[in-house]
Symmetry: D2
Subunit: 99 residues, 4 copies
């Protein structure tokens, strides 16, 4: 499974994730501008909710790729590494659900 | 209530919110770097969860200030504007809870 | 504000809330039946998500009524009680957003 | 993989899940009693948050068992069923994160 170490699960969609994260960075800058210009609280909150959804969507995409590549790879290989990958994935899912 | 129009509810904590949003913008850049450098999916997801929590925390702060200033101001003044402010606040809370 | 003490904010929609909570109780029983009958995990998870949404919806309704009645009443009266009601409402919102 | 069809992923922890779901059913009944007795909105909301957390915890447990058993089993077997199981799991995770 040398392949697994060299390329992360999201490799094929790397450009897509980078593009989405750049847009999220832009949303963070837009929020600063809104606060700086004393925009109405509710309008800022609407943008925060949009940014949270965009971030959640990136997380779900990364997790999906992770399950498809790393977890499946480890499951096919079996052994203690498979167990560790599953425990890691479950912990990451729990953090997402609770955050 | 000219005051309410000129200064948003978060006015007193504006610098604090700007500082937190700059840090969130930095987290978005850090995530791009991690993806670009092929970091491990689970480590990226951990950072996404941290960023989501930071964003949620900003949202709760803005909402708290909004309730303290705009909603209380409108409630004291009464009339249809009070009702509109409450409906807006409830809708913003629902978006946060569901996002 | 004796009225505020005698009747909670959700008084006018009490029957509606009771009906929705009975349905949620039924969903909890339905989940036990599914687990008992060894139903497929994913189908159970779909029902859990539906139940969580129903519960969230009750929470948002209760919060909306609370803001309209208790918080507005306290804000109109002013003083330390108003501040306490707002702090309580903000803490309840934070628990909902984070749960 | 006849085993996979006969017993769901949560089989070993079935009694634990049933016990937790019975407690959640009890929380739903407790909420009805609180509403019926005109308890204070904020106290009801605190119980709703506790119930939502308990439900989320059951969901994360079921999902963890599902990944360990069904998804790993399908991944080891490979083929189109593996892909379908992963797509299902990802969709269930997305519903949980967004609910």
């Amino acid at each position: 499974m040398a392949d697994m170490t060299d390329h992360p699960g999201y490799d094929a969609r790397k450009d897509d994730f980078l593009r989405r994260l750049r847009r999220i960075e832009g949303q963070a800058r837009g929020l600063q501008r809104m606060v700086d210009e004393d925009k109405y609280c509710i309008d800022i909150l609407t943008q925060v909710s949009a940014m949270t959804s965009a971030l959640e969507s990136v997380a779900l995409g990364l997790l999906d790729d992770h399950l498809h590549h790393c977890v499946v790879g480890a499951a096919a290989a079996g052994g203690p590494e498979a167990e560790q990958k599953l425990a890691e994935a479950s912990a990451a899912i729990a953090r997402l659900v609770r955050s």
